[in-house]
């Protein structure tokens, strides 16, 4: 049974990294948050640009994501800055409840002096890093992993090799008691009946169909016909004949396990297994949905190349395009072109990928981490006041 070495957190989850997160709740303190993070060793910085004026679903999602990111198991401690003391106090209470080391600094605390916020942030951040540096990795089972599954800048190699490889890895991880999340709702269009057929409950199956129908309707209302010109001329030239084929190639990332349920954006899976998340397809939003839900790692396939990764969850870039793998050898973490060339995804290849996942979970760096190619973007859905 494979395992990895991770950071055992007080809330029972296990992290694959141990960084300080400097989180700005609202964009008013974004610039100072970036200055604070830049002055501290290996600090991640996430700026949630929206805050005041958010209502309804946007407010719920924002609050859920802020907590999900600040309490994330890959984060040893959180330094939270913002201009609204009440909002920060509420988040602090929640972080206290899950025993996440943290400090909150509001503009009230600094008499609205941004220089004082910067100094306080650097000082408190330094103390938090000092504290969390005492953490050590310890053995952990793969079942502790929540894996996000993503594709971007796909080409024919994605649907016939890279995504099926992810599906095999997801199947194996779930066999071992782990969790995987498929998002990008619009890419289920044409294959949603098959995802629904794999659902544990008819409720979930109905939710999957409804989520796709809702997105279709929203697109139509905005004058975008998702089915009218899909597959696109580029897709057709590349060999994709129907929307079903295109979506099956994308949904192949999810493997063959039953679908436990459908998650809202940034919602934590209540128990292990394969979950689908109703979320936008655009990578920055999609990845943050997984990470705020607790995903510690992400597998992200690309055809022609796409350097974007999560800021908080090590993201393995995967490609089955031999040219991409060669040309972008210092941006692609996992070559799946052997699956393409061999016309097969043999069990030893899946074993090797799981092994690499365990290595990254245990500390091997991905190219995106080395380059700092990551960010976190929380989706918006409606108007703000």
């Amino acid at each position: 049974m494979l395992s990895f070495a991770g950071y055992h957190r007080p809330d029972g989850r296990i992290g694959v990294r141990n960084r300080l997160l400097v989180l700005s709740v609202g964009g008013l303190t974004g610039p100072v948050a970036r200055r604070i993070a830049a002055g501290l060793r290996d600090a991640a910085c996430v700026v949630l640009p929206f805050e005041a004026g958010l209502i309804g679903q946007d407010k719920r999602v924002h609050d859920r994501a802020a907590l999900g990111l600040a309490a994330h198991p890959n984060i040893g401690a959180a330094l939270v800055v913002g201009d609204n003391a009440q909002v920060l106090a509420a988040l602090s209470d929640q972080l206290g409840a899950c025993h996440q080391p943290h400090v909150v600094i509001s503009m009230d605390d600094c008499d609205n002096d941004v220089f004082r916020m910067q100094e306080a942030g650097l000082r408190q951040g330094a103390r938090l890093i000092h504290q969390i540096s005492r953490q050590r990795r310890a053995p952990a089972p793969l079942s502790a992993l929540v894996l996000g599954l993503e594709c971007g800048r796909s080409d024919p190699s994605s649907g016939i090799a890279a995504n099926p490889l992810l599906g095999r890895v997801a199947d194996r991880l779930i066999d071992q008691g782990g969790t995987a999340i498929l998002g990008e709702t619009v890419e289920w269009l044409g294959a949603e009946h098959l995802l629904a057929a794999r659902a544990r409950s008819t409720q979930t199956g109905d939710a999957i169909s409804a989520a796709v129908a809702r997105r279709e309707a929203e697109a139509m209302a905005a004058g975008v016909d998702l089915l009218g010109r899909n597959p696109t001329p580029t897709n057709i030239a590349a060999g994709l004949s129907t929307i079903e084929e295109k979506s099956l190639g994308s949904v192949a990332k999810s493997g063959t396990q039953p679908v436990e349920g459908m998650l809202d954006y940034a919602q934590t899976p209540p128990h292990p297994g394969l979950w689908v998340m109703d979320a936008p397809a655009f990578a920055p939003e999609s990845l943050t949905g997984f990470v705020a839900a607790g995903a510690q790692l992400i597998l992200f396939t690309t055809g022609v190349g796409n350097s974007y990764v999560s800021a908080l969850a090590p993201t393995l870039k995967v490609s089955a395009n031999p040219d991409t793998c060669t040309r972008l050898s210092d941006q692609i973490d996992l070559r799946a072109d052997t699956a393409l060339l061999g016309g097969d995804i043999p069990a030893p290849m899946v074993d090797a990928v799981l092994g690499q996942l365990a290595q990254v979970a245990s500390g091997d760096l991905t190219w995106g981490e080395i380059l700092g190619e990551g960010d976190e973007v929380v989706s918006r859905f409606g108007a703000a006041l």
């Binding site: 024919p156 099956l248 097969d344």
Partner: protein
């Protein structure tokens, strides 16, 4: 990175047991005998037309109106009879899900 080079190159890939098409891993010439893995074994098929990289060819003859199966599921319906080794694409395969572009 581990070297996972396959023992021999394949010319096409079958995504699931029960698929009625294979996808070309390189441009295939009309009349070529190509190698692919199916059911855990390496087998040979002859393609009767040129098949570009990433395009599909039929593993068996497919009757008009039959489902075309890839990834273990129907990706559409054949609009004409397709011979074994024939190119399968928009000229002889129609989606069950697509909607024609509405005139504006």
């Amino acid at each position: 990175m581990k070297d996972l080079s396959p023992a021999s190159r394949m010319d096409a890939i079958v995504l699931a047991d029960g698929d009625t098409v294979a996808t070309a891993l390189r441009a295939l010439g009309a009349g070529e005998t190509v190698r692919l893995r199916r059911g855990g074994a390496s087998v040979e098929h002859r393609v009767c037309e040129a098949i570009p990289f990433g395009h599909k060819f039929a593993l068996f003859s497919i009757a008009q109106g039959d489902a075309v199966v890839k990834y273990g599921a129907s990706i559409g319906t054949a609009t004409a009879p397709i011979p074994a080794g024939g190119h399968v694409h928009i000229h002889n395969l129609t989606s069950a899900r697509a909607r024609p572009v509405a005139p504006r």
